[in-house]
């Protein structure tokens, strides 16, 4: 089942003093998200991720196109009962404590006072803020704010959660915790739609991703479909390798470079792998690891974006020639 359906969404922001200039932030975006999946929305800064999420949340209106969530149009108020949203760099009422804020949010979702109170404490524990129940949000650090943001997005036990850059502002431990929360949500059948410009987060979490750049969708699909996951090289890591052995390894087709006391040997394929390992061992060295090298999402991403840049650049040049 499609829980999110975006069709031909376009957004122009009006800018300038008289709002006479238009700036296209999103162009003809169409995609669907299926129930129960973790969907990664990837793109560099300014790609249009936040714009898309704001349209879905009813904060801004699209210039053209439509979107449906859970089968309802986005301005359907009751549909919002079933979804959660974490804005980018969220900000909350400074004069409330974290607990008060969560109670307020739970009440807006229609819970009674007592139910809201217990739900607030439950969520504070989940995001590990149980020791900061009575501290005003004014005194929260960026990481704590982000956690409160996640807590408020989950307070209504949503069927779909939209998270705009959920890992931003968090330290490695915090990122890990957010990742665990997202995995937990999936285990419970919740659909997660999250945006990020950090590839590592997406790579390890998402069932499917969409890659966006300059407001246009570049690719969408399973990571294994988008990336050619075949092994492009092998990397052998070894230590205590003698200089004589080094020469022999290079003859076998390995590219070598030393980092600290380790030697990295990169092989184009696995044909000479066994020989390389034996050579290292015979020379008194130790093999530490053998790793296949795949095209990472990062490399893929940069390549795709470069390609788009080049083609739009050529297009612009062609256009200027025509006008001359």
């Amino acid at each position: 089942m499609n829980v999110v359906e975006i069709t031909h969404l376009t957004k122009d922001y009006r800018t300038g003093f008289w709002f006479h200039k238009r700036r296209r932030a999103l162009e003809d975006l169409s995609l669907t998200v299926q129930a129960g999946e973790i969907f990664g929305f990837l793109g560099p800064n300014g790609a249009g991720k936040t714009t898309t999420l704001k349209i879905l949340m009813g904060l801004i209106r699209p210039t053209a196109g439509k979107a449906r969530i859970l089968g309802c149009p986005i301005d359907h108020v009751q549909m919002h009962q079933e979804i959660g949203f974490l804005p980018e760099n969220p900000y909350f009422y400074e004069y409330l404590t974290g607990r008060e804020y969560l109670i307020y949010t739970a009440e807006l979702f229609g819970r009674g006072r007592a139910a809201a109170q217990s739900r607030a404490v439950e969520l504070m524990e989940m995001v590990r803020l149980e020791e900061s129940l009575k501290i005003p949000l004014r005194k929260f650090s960026k990481g704590m704010i982000q956690r409160i943001g996640i807590a408020q997005a989950l307070i209504n036990d949503p069927r779909i959660v939209f998270l705009d850059e959920p890992m931003s502002g968090l330290d490695p431990v915090g990122r890990r915790e957010v990742r665990d929360i997202i995995m937990n949500l999936r285990a419970r059948g919740v659909t997660v739609f999250f945006s990020s410009h950090i590839l590592a987060d997406v790579e390890s979490l998402c069932d499917r991703v969409a890659i966006l750049n300059r407001g246009r969708l570049l690719d969408i699909g399973r990571l294994t479909e988008i990336l050619r996951m075949e092994v492009s090289a092998l990397e052998v890591m070894a230590k205590d390798v003698q200089a004589v052995t080094l020469e022999r390894l290079q003859q076998l087709g390995g590219q070598t470079h030393a980092i600290g006391d380790r030697l990295h040997i990169t092989l184009p394929d696995d044909r000479s792998l066994l020989e390389v390992i034996m050579t290292v061992q015979e020379g008194g060295g130790k093999v530490i690891s053998v790793n296949p090298v795949r095209e990472s999402l990062e490399e893929f991403f940069l390549k795709r974006i470069d390609a788009q840049y080049v083609s739009s650049h050529q297009y612009a040049q062609a256009g200027s020639e025509i006008s001359r």
């Binding site: 704001k54 949340m57 904060l59 801004i60 009962q81 969220p90 909350f92």
Partner: protein
Amino acid sequence: MRKVLIIARTTFKENIRDKILYNLLFFTLAIIGVSVALGQVSIGHEQKIIIDMSLSAISLFGTLIAIFIGTGLVYKELDKRTIYNLISKPVRRSEFILGKYLGLMSTLLVNLALMSAGAYLALWLLGKSVQSEFLYVLAAVYAIFLQLMLVTAIALMFSTFSTPVLSAVFTFALWVIGHFSTEMKRLADILRSAVTGHICVALSYALPNFSNFTISGRENLLKSAAHFHAPQLTTLMLATAYGFLYSALLLTLAVFIFQKRDFK
């Protein structure tokens, strides 16, 4: 409606945790204190002076609270982007506007109660009987409340599309003009048939008319309290109807503007 009340309650919390409120409240009580001192100098007129000054102070500072807090109510939510967390929830934009309005109105109500209590306390300290004029003062404070309803609605309406400073200037301008509606009608009389005359008449009816809350015919609600006249019931009822209707109109306009907005 439940959601309106939840938003109103949180807005009330926001207001009472705001320093500006205490500054204004302090000033009012200080002026009431001064009126006690002045009252003692003018023997025989103590009561009149205390009631007169207190009511003026309550009206002025109530208006300042309504303008200063009212113009920031919506703007702050947009500026700090806290609005994202509300509009993405099952909350209508109209519920948001109404909740904000009711929140500030309850703050103003509590403030009026505190300030009036200050005035009564001053009278009581002077050993004056409070009973006889209790109702008259209460009627005057009620008239002030109606006036604040309107001022807050104006401030809120402007703040749905403009910055706090501009909204405050606009609101204050309307508040001043609104006190001269009677004069505007008189001006129209003088200009008679001229186009400007018609414009004056139209404006005097269209713009909020604050003299509806203080003067009706020859009766001044604020002054009558000081002179121990019982206000006429019809005056109070007309003022009530005017206050509620005009505020409702302004809030509808505020919601209408707010519905059209993108939250960037």
